[in-house]
């Protein structure tokens, strides 16, 4: 699995990771194996793919696809306790619904920034959980 590479962000602290872990524990009813094997790898693989498709939809001016893909990112991150990315994706979805195409580039840039931080947290949590379970 390819994981996104962090470039400029500082390393996430436990306080950054705790909300994600709490949300995943709630989602999986405490199944750490499912978090390590499926939940975190899935989001780190699938959301970047959706984001890439979203960028292409913006370039193509495909309003329906922009709205649908932003909605999908919003849904994907919902279970991970990340309200920042959720709101950023919602802003882009709403802009698509209302036809505000002139705002797409700016909103997509903001979403990308939020996603990079989110990926960094998920990657750090995955590494931490793998280390914990290996002990």
């Amino acid at each position: 699995m390819e994981t996104p590479v962090l470039t400029t962000q500082t390393a996430p602290t436990f306080a950054d990771l705790e909300p994600i872990l709490a949300a995943l524990a709630q989602w999986t009813a405490g199944d750490v194996d499912a978090i390590i094997r499926v939940a975190l790898p899935s989001v780190l693989t699938e959301v970047p793919r959706t984001s890439e498709a979203l960028e292409q939809a913006i370039e193509a001016g495909d309003l329906e696809a922009v709205g649908r893909l932003a909605h999908r990112i919003k849904g994907s991150v919902c279970q991970y306790g990340d309200t920042v990315v959720r709101e950023q994706a919602l802003a882009l979805e709403t802009a698509a619904t209302e036809g505000r195409t002139e705002e797409f580039d700016s909103l997509y840039g903001t979403l990308q920034s939020g996603l990079q931080t989110f990926y960094g947290k998920c990657t750090a949590l995955l590494e931490q959980l793998r280390a914990d379970t290996a002990e």
């Binding site: 949300a23 709630q26 989602w27 999986t28 009813a29 199944d31 499912a34 094997r37 499926v38 939940a39 899935s42 989001v43 699938e46 959301v47 793919r49 649908r68 909605h71 999908r72 849904g75 994907s76 919902c78 279970q79």
Partner: protein, 131 residues
């Protein structure tokens, strides 16, 4: 019959276009002992429901090609699939969506966010036990 053995005889169809959510749902249901098949859009859902006769369908409403409400209607209009219970899983929290899903023949409606898989398993077991 023990619960795990009973589950292994049951086939569930998960209809979800979000791969993150679908992967997790399939993983958790398979781990619980069910046979699970999956569809990523409405057309595939209707085809699998007709061909594979699942015991229960877990249906997202906002899916490509044929939207969830249309899938629900077509399932209930088809004699081959009309008897299959449908558990609607949706991000939509409005009472209108809930009422419409029930009106169209859904057996149950659950809001996806936040979701707890133990609650989902309990609901699935309950639906499969209904006469």
């Amino acid at each position: 019959m023990p619960e795990a053995t009973l589950r292994s005889t049951r086939t569930l169809l998960v209809v979800e276009d979000d791969a993150v959510y679908r992967n997790m749902t399939v993983h958790m249901l398979t781990k619980a002992g069910f046979q699970v098949i999956e569809a990523t859009d409405g057309e595939e859902a209707l085809r699998l429901a007709t061909d594979r006769h699942p015991d229960l369908i877990l249906l997202d409403l906002k899916i490509p090609k044929v939207v969830g409400f249309q899938v629900l209607l077509r399932l209930k209009e088809n004699l081959v699939t009309a008897h299959i219970p449908v558990l609607v899983l949706s991000a939509l929290q409005g009472d209108a969506e809930f009422q419409q899903a029930l009106q169209y023949g859904a057996a149950e409606y659950m809001v996806k966010f936040p979701m707890n898989y133990q609650e989902l398993l309990d609901r699935v077991d309950e639906l499969l036990e209904r006469p």
